[in-house]
Amino acid sequence: MESLFSEEELKQEICRVMSALYKRGLVSALGGNVSARIPNSEEFWITPSGVFKGELNPDDLVKLDLECNVVDGLLRPSIEAPVHAAIYKARPDVNAIVHAHNPFTLGLALAGLPIEPITVEEVMVLRKVEVVPFAFPGTDKLAKLVAETAAKGYRALILQNHGIIAMGSNLVEAEAVAETLEEVAIAQFVCYALGKKPPLIPEREVELYRKLYRF
């Protein structure tokens, strides 16, 4: 089957997503990374490490195989490449991954407050959000912990004291997961800041969505 995106378009899309995340304040000048699996292959394109994230172009990206060997590209791949590779291995349904540093999401997790079903988007887009315990960035330990949790079918993970992982079948979906997570976290934060506990979507409604979307 012919792919919807050529490889070059896929690379442009990765740069667009990175730029959008930067503009929204979900990644900093040097933090965060985005990757996309090349359809029907064992390889993926990922953003480089250490290069200013607000201004990436397709030439900066690096193509890796699932063992993180460099297949194409010149620059240094993101140090979180092992996390991306481990997810792609564990989740054939995932074709795009965003690792961002969503400040409100992270803040709630630091306070021990879970992401709750406060909007329909939370239920439909995020579904259930799990927290992965802390491990040093760039380590095999972190890759292993993330892959084990991702294998359970989540679309969004919070990396304790670090950031978030958003997964999707394509880049827009992964981007939407990352953005929705932050939107929900901000809404919850505002509610808590005003001294109120946010009312949740009733459990039976959530259950309906679960059945409808089979998650």
């Binding site: 250490g50 200013f52 030439d59 900066d60 010149l74 620059l75 240094r76 380590t139």
Partner: protein, 619 residues
Amino acid sequence: MSGKLLGYCGRVLYIDLSKEKTWIRELSEEEELMFIGGTGLAAKIVCEEVDPSVDPFSSENTLVFMTGPLTGTYVPCTGRLAVAAKSPLTLGWGEAHSSGFWGIELKKAGFDGIVIKGSSKDPVYIYVKDSEIEIRDASKIWGRDTRETDKLVKQDVGDSKIKVACIGPAGEKLVRYACITVEPEPEGPRVAGRTGMGAVMGSKNLKAIAVKGSGSISMADPNRLRHLIRRLLPLIMSFPSTQIQAAYGTAGEVEVFYEYGDMPMRNFSLGAWEGIEKLTGENLAKTIVARHKACYNCPIGCWRVVEIDGLRVRGPEYEAVASLGSTLLIDDPYVIARANELCNRYGIDVISAGVTIAWAIECYEKGIITKEDTGGLELKWGDGDLLLKLIEMIGEREGFGKLLGEGSRLASKMLGRGSEKYAMHVKGLEVPMHDPRAFKGMGLQYATSNRGACHLQGFVLRIEQGERMHDLKIYERVDRFETKGKGRIVAIMQDWHEVLDSMIICKFLAIPPAHVAAMYSMVTGRKTLLPELLKAGSRIFNLKRIFNIACGYSSADDTLPERFLREPLKEGGAAGQVVELEPMLKEYYDYRKWDEKGVPRKELLEELGIAELAERLIR
């Protein structure tokens, strides 16, 4: 195959001073890729052209000046130069490095390097102006210090903008740790300091090499390179050590290293000293520093200009602050700055000078050296006037300075009386200003570095301070006192530093290794990934090892001064520690695929493509 990679000139200038002949050697693309440039290509040339058994001061020794493919490109901190020959100090592999514009000028003149063969009957200097090469009379310049030499050569040529690399009186008089000073004027110099390359130059009656080029330096994809560097700089500048160096120069790390118990005091026998407060980067900034300067295309600017006796000169680096300061228990920044300037004028390596003087003072204190040996001088710690006097005597090779000019290994051997125990060297090269009892990997690095005790060829202490190098597969955070795992880390870091010294990039700029590969690719126009560069690094390191073996070195020389192995310091950040070298060495030899005698195995040399050259050297 002729050199087609961009970034290189593809040509090396040969000058035979005995025959007064010059010729050009074309570099092949194959040798550029195998040995990169800088120290790597210099190693290939020395190993191919120097009989390891020659006297380093004979005309058969060859002195190589080499730039790298990144020299003078958009890549920051690439105004660098490597110099190599058989060393009169180590009697084995010798090399030294300097920053400056000299190498850039040489590339603009159309040469990647200059190889000096033979020796002149009378003092000469060389003038390279693009393709015009002249060997000129230097009899009127001979005997002058490096600053005067720079001025006189410029006057003689009639061009104040030429770049000059020269020796001072110490190089002429064959002080075994004489250095080559690069661009002493104004407010300079930069120095190719270690292993006595200035003495080799002096033995050839070569006072200076002046260069002027009008060409440009080629780059395959300059726009992409510039765009990448602009976006990488925030990361590079965010490293703590880089920020300290930008704020206070390398001396900014005095406090940090002192806290670790790393900074030597009283010839590495003391772990705490109140005088250190006067030597911090902050205090130097308050007392002697006049202004900051930066080398070519450098965003850090660690160079400090100080004002002494009404003259603005290069200020002491961390190594000078320690070797001419704390090692001798001298805490006066003005004295250290004067001593540093005196070394620069005579053309003497400050590390070897300070450590050799420290050896003499300790021997005097213990009654091994007496006033009979010193010509009536009383040697004592903390004596600034004595330091200045001794540097002069070394530079002039007068009186007691004659012995000190031999370096600590040979001087202690000549003196005998058990003085060898206090000579702090490895393979004849004086130990630099990082005590390996504070960072044990540094102990292994010193023991195995090809030019002897060298802190720069690996700089493993950064890893032992907690840095990780993902690109080099050093993921773990290691304990500085731990020995397990250090064999692997030291070997990897040494190989990587061979790459940096071949490119050539200043080590203070922490560009992640995979990005260095990317920059090399953008300059040369040939896609080169990190594993290929690391293999080249290993090739270069192993070739130098073979040269040392051919010079008579063996595993018995992969050791440290007894003090580091058996005498723990009583106080300070490394109190109670000694270096447990043996287990680290075993792990290191195994990782490097060397046999138990420390000889690279044949299969390894074949894999690296240097088996034939190695066989010729050892035969």
